[in-house]
Amino acid sequence: MTTGAPIVVDGVSKRYETPSGAVSAVDAVSLTVRPREFVSLLGPSGCGKSTLLGMIGGLVRPDAGRILIEGAPISGPTPSKVALVFQDPGLFPWRTALDNVGFGLELLGVPAARRREIALGLLEPMGLKGFEARYPRELSGGMRQRVAIARALALDTPILLMDEPFGALDEQTRLLMGEWLVDVRRRTERTVVFVTHSLHEAIALSDRIAVMTARPGRIKDVVEVPLPYPRALDGPDAVALHAKLWAQIREESLRAMEGKS
């Protein structure tokens, strides 16, 4: 096992008890993420990719296996190393954009003046200059998610976990946010694990894509994306990759649909 890896997922399983019996959400998944790598977890809805991300983030306790963050096994959230972003921006409605970004720092006991400085430094390059004093209800969906990402970046962790962060946004905003995230990543050099069900999003953003099976979630294949940035999704390599991924995902999505009906 590589000790330099920021994230090691080692034979992790998770079952949920439901009224109709136990459901296996994630089954014996192993995955090693390299330093500063962008890995997407791609799979049909309900395949356990969010559960897997939750376990890496320490929010969900695995039933079996273990997770190492920078070589140390985790038993809960590790905000010093891992920050999370969710599909729901989860901004606190009673806090301004600036105070939302400073929330994690506040928990760490960072003084107000320093929090303000850090938050302003994050909001400005995100195109949110002038919106610092706005409340979440006064911001657009894309802006809210950028504030949520800024709040996660404020913790200055080496690892960023993102659970379908652009899933609730419209197509155009989503594409722009993807471009913006590529740029953020270049500037901040973080290791990112990104959950998505969008093939395009995965191809546009990732170094590697872990394709997951329908429930119970296993890793079916890990695909390298050796394309340079900025990525043109209509180039021959991207199209070929899309076809390859779709062939794998289609099968799983069909299974997921049949499993539901």
Partner: protein
């Protein structure tokens, strides 16, 4: 602005209708608004009625005590049932059942147990104010968005920090609404208690005037109480509005 004009118009029309209909009916029983100021003057000066200030202060004290108990008990029970789900599952249905029973039926028992003095009034004001506060806490806890709690937990917040920085602000407007209703009902409890059986207090004076057929004085006292309660509730509404604006 237009809304205020309309409200003023409604008030003026209501007063006019009241005045006109009172003048057409038996003046012994029906008191129009024009007779109220003089009646209020008599209430304060007459020797036929018990002196008002002392009774007023007693009632205010009883309300303050009843409301203090209602807040303390309501918050405590609400958070206990809402945050300890094992306890909540057992006692919440019981609470809902008790709430459905008209509280007034407990009052005779309270007088039997606690006597005719302030204790039974405070207990009744507490009983009425307690439920809305408790239920607001329970509703407030349920409406805290799970996403906000998850964010805080993912950033390493401990349970107490989650409570203070996420749950309390997220439920503040519901809680403020419950505290306002609780105040109104504590006032009702104390006054009803005094009307039904007491030897002192504002309700007692009202009952006294009523018993002597001093209808004008009686009406003046009722309007006085109504105005006082409206002002109190108006102040509470302002506080509630501030909290709502703050928490979005």
């Amino acid at each position: 602005m237009r809304v205020w004009l309309w409200r003023a118009a409604v008030l003026v029309v209501a007063l006019a209708v009241w005045e006109i209909s009172a003048r057409m009916l038996n003046p012994m029983l029906y008191v129009g608004p024009s007779r109220l100021p003089a009646a209020l003057g008599r209430v304060l000066s007459t020797r036929d009625l018990p002196p008002l200030p002392g009774h007023l202060w007693l009632t205010l004290g009883e309300i303050a005590a009843a409301y203090a108990f209602a807040i303390t008990g309501g918050l405590w029970v609400g958070f206990l049932l809402g945050l300890r789900q094992s306890v909540g599952r057992v006692y919440e249905p019981l609470l809902a059942t008790l709430y459905a029973v008209p509280s007034v039926i407990w009052y005779p028992s309270l007088m039997l147990f606690l006597g005719l003095g302030p204790a039974s009034k405070i207990a009744f004001g507490f009983l009425l104010g307690f439920f809305p506060v408790t239920l607001a806490v329970l509703a407030g806890i349920r409406q805290v968005p799970a996403a906000l709690v998850t964010v805080a937990v993912s950033m390493g917040a401990r349970p107490f920090t989650v409570f203070r920085k996420v749950m309390l602000p997220a439920m503040a407007s519901t809680l403020a609404g419950g505290l306002r209703t609780g105040l109104a009902l504590s006032v009702v409890g104390v006054l009803v208690g005094e009307l039904l059986g007491a030897r002192a207090g504002l309700g007692y004076v009202i009952n006294y005037a009523y018993g002597l057929m001093m209808t004008a004085e009686y009406a003046a006292l009722v309007v006085l109480v109504a105005v006082a309660v409206l002002l109190l509730d108006g102040a509470a509404a302002l506080v509630e509005q501030r909290v709502k604006t703050w928490t979005g």
